[in-house]
Amino acid sequence: MLKMASSFPEEVLEHVFSFLQSDGDRNSISMVCKSWYEIERWCRRRIFVGNCYAVSPRILIRRFPDVRSITLKGKPHFADFNLVPEGWGGYVYPWIVALASAYPWLEEIRLKRMVVTDESLELIAKSFKNFKLLVLSSCEGFSTDGLASIAANCRNLQELDLHESDVEDLSGRWLSHFPDTYTSLVSLNIACLGSEVSFSALERLVGRCPNLRSLRLHRAVPLDRLSNLLHRAPQLVELGTGAYSAELRPDVLSNLSSALSACRELKSLSGFWDVVPTYLPAVYSICPGLTSLNLSYAIIQSPDLIKLVSQCPNLQRLWVLDYIEDVGLDALAVSCKDLRELRVFPSDPFVLEANVSLTEQGLISVSEGCPKLQSVLYFCRQMSNEALITIARNQPNFTCFRLCIIEPRTPDYLTLEPLDVGFGAIVEHCKDLTRLSVSGLLTDRAFEYIGTYGKKLEMLSLAFAGDSDLGLHHVLSGCDNLRKLEIRDCPFGDKALLANAAKLETMRSLWMSSCSVSYGACKLLGQKLPRLNVEVIDERGHPASRPESLPVEKLYIYRSVAGPRFDMPNFVWTMDENSALRLT
């Protein structure tokens, strides 16, 4: 056996490893033995860092000498709901500085929920000669000036994706910074921008890039401009329209229809701001080929929606507003047998009375009619245990189930009981469930079910639920694979957290806001577990100025080998054994 191990040359082993690119496999390989660890670290090219504060750039660079692709995530998920105060952190600049000097051949940077400045973008543009891909998902802190740097300097750029970032849009001129010699664009997503860009520049750009596959425009591109663009890029696979409206002229519809029908590869549609329903038929010709349809900005009523989805038999993903109503979801269940993912967003979440006729029935229909449905995000106003049990039985294949009953603590509308049993059925039947968000009236019993059955659960989101620490204890002690737990406004305090403190080191992060965790407990956790960063976020002032037993506003705990961070604002403190003694 030893003979075999020694006669197996490194280069061959490296070649074997080259066929294993998933992070999980790479991690497994590197932990087999010392020699595999060494070989693997020299040939790993893609790195995923789920929490930018879990590891430092230096540690990363020291271990992996030749990285070509990096993904970094910054703020916790609840930042999407404005629960993370401005200035909390997630700054990418120090990373870019370190990466720039260590990896001159870096090709891809993907960032999510990080603060990206124009300086960072300029540094990226100048440091990486073969830079190909930049994805800024839900990022902020940069302006169109930074984009201009990227456009001007990255000769080999293939993908620029600003997915839902908060960009300071100074002007649309940045797009014109792509030089005339630049032809390598494959994917462009500027849907989040506001300012008008030069349409001629855009048309020329699209026209000279033969490999363009994905183009997601922003609202400032009107419909009559779309045809011109499509004529120049009939090879598109993904299209995000701009504003789906124009003055009612006869030629707009016909031009658009012919332009769209020429795009035979089109599989994904999005955009659809300001829809004028008269123009919807333009897309009918490509509907049969569609696998993904994002209508989350489209204010279209259910009859038009039904007409649309009924022509999409190959649809796998649908994001839509609740205008689709139960009747529309019935139609979906009949027409789209290949549906894998459904997201139904609320059109008006701030009114108490339902403005549309969307109830639990829609979800039941879809769970019944779509055998491949795996991922659901569903906003509604009423739910019952009976419905949830039916859904669970219909569709045990759910991997992601997120139900958001708009009004907190809403009970089962038929029996007025908590929805414990319903969610219990979900976790019991859906054995492969990895992501779950719960809502409605829930007692500790619901968490008992989750802890008992949610063995594969990796991410759990809780809000306005539970009675006591027992609920949290069930989750922390029962969910073996839990990686991310985010909680808001639940009556969970110190006991369950301290009792399950060891669990926290096996998770990526825990977020608790508006709960009952005391400052004293936070300090204790920070002292006991030096490999965790226990961050107390409190905009009311340092918690030491109040009695220790009072709860902190927000708590964010994550494991880290990089130690406490030093870029915190004045309302965030890291608890550790020496915070009192720390010599400033």
Partner: protein, 386 residues
């Protein structure tokens, strides 16, 4: 092989043969077109004119034994025929690689030494499929690889890695200092929040070193500690359900981290109850630990440790730039570096500090003594990256 035999019968004019010799001694003839499919053999024939007779047989690389040669020739014999459809080739390949892992490894290795890239790819992919989705333990078993990563390099809850008594000592002494400062704080009025420590590194270490001289009498070993802890636990009962009111009283057995700083494992044998957490008993137990500077450090070793600590402090102050160069140049090497906990411990420690140059030397000591994360603690990073 029967083909070899048959070759003797057939007239030589119809086929030409290449003679190959494996390291385990056997010499055989192989049809030219089959053998020439291997780039290495091809080169030997064309460039060096070898293989035309038994006496001039081409010596094959060590990793190609008779069994492997046979397999490789089967592969070549099939693939060198032109005009095979993709489907045929795929079908053959799928059947061809069905063998146990050991043979597959040997075959990969052999194919690589003959530079037969298509076969290397085929076998490598097959090996990758075997590895895919498996845990490190499973992979180790399949490939009979040694489990030579140390505990602290693995994914299990990490113990304190400081086997080195110096580090343990420094940790304990620093903790003691902490305790004393707290006591001093309690005595004082809480008017001075800031504590400015302007002492140099040497001063700080001397202060710590001074403690060694004042140490308490050596208590008996850890056993006493353990017994005391166990007794405390037995006294406490689970009062959770008494404190809370809910419909179904359950007997909850909370598992807590052990008392020792940095050292815990969610083991059922060491359970604490909520009552412990509510009182300061936990803190007491922690300080109880800190109080023991003793175990296993005899005076002679202590003196040696003092010297080494001072030496280290001196080095921190002076050797910095030179050290850094040393460490950085070591990092350039591609070959596997023998990193072991015991041997080059100090080297790695320096290196860790080098890669995190803090603004002041005072800070460096803090780094050393506090969140000590040795070089090889990289396994945790892997979790963090998933």
């Amino acid at each position: 092989m029967s083909e070899g035999d048959m070759a003797v019968i057939k007239p030589k004019m119809l086929k030409s043969y290449i003679w190959l010799q494996t390291t385990d001694g056997s010499i055989q003839q192989v049809e030219q077109e089959v053998a020439m499919f291997c780039p290495l053999i091809c080169r030997e024939v064309i460039q060096k004119g070898m293989g035309s007779s038994k006496t001039h047989a081409i010596s094959l690389p060590e990793r190609v034994n008779t069994a492997m040669l046979s397999l490789i020739l089967d592969y070549c014999r099939f693939h060198q025929v032109l005009g095979r459809s993709n489907k045929e080739c795929k079908s053959f390949d799928e059947k061809f690689i069905r063998m146990d892992t050991q043979r597959l490894c040997e075959l990969t290795s052999a194919a690589d030494s003959l530079q037969l890239k298509p076969l290397v790819d085929l076998t490598s992919r097959a090996l990758a499929r075997i590895i895919e989705g498996k845990t490190p333990e499973e992979i180790r078993e399949i490939f009979h690889l040694p489990d030579d990563l140390t505990e602290e390099e693995k994914l299990e809850p990490l113990k304190n890695v400081t086997d080195d008594p110096r580090i343990r000592l420094l940790n304990r002494l620093y903790a003691r200092k902490r305790k004393e400062l707290k006591e001093r704080e309690k005595l004082k009025n809480t008017e001075d929040g800031e504590r400015n420590d302007d002492r140099s590194v040497d001063d700080l270490l001397t202060f710590i070193n001074g403690e060694i001289g004042d140490s308490k009498e050596i208590k008996s070993s850890k056993n006493k500690k353990k017994n005391r802890r166990r007794k405390d636990q037995q006294k406490n009962t689970c009062l959770y359900e008494a404190n809370e009111s809910h419909e179904e009283p359950k007997s909850l057995n909370f598992v807590c981290p052990s008392d020792e700083v940095n050292k815990f494992r969610p083991s059922p044998s060491l359970t604490l109850t909520l009552q412990d957490l509510e009182h300061d008993s936990l803190n007491d137990q922690l300080e109880f630990d800190d109080g023991d500077i003793d175990d296993e450090i005899d005076p002679a070793l202590k003196a040696q440790i003092d010297r080494e600590v001072e030496d280290f402090a001196r080095r921190l102050n002076s050797d910095w730039p030179q050290r850094m160069q040393e460490i950085l140049s070591l990092g350039q090497e591609r070959r596997r570096v023998q990193l072991s906990l015991n041997g080059n411990d100090s080297l790695r420690r320096y290196a860790y500090i080098m890669t995190r140059p803090p603004s002041s030397l005072r800070r460096m000591v803090e780094v050393l003594v506090l969140g000590f994360n040795p070089w090889s603690n990289s396994r945790v990073e892997m979790i963090l990256m998933t």
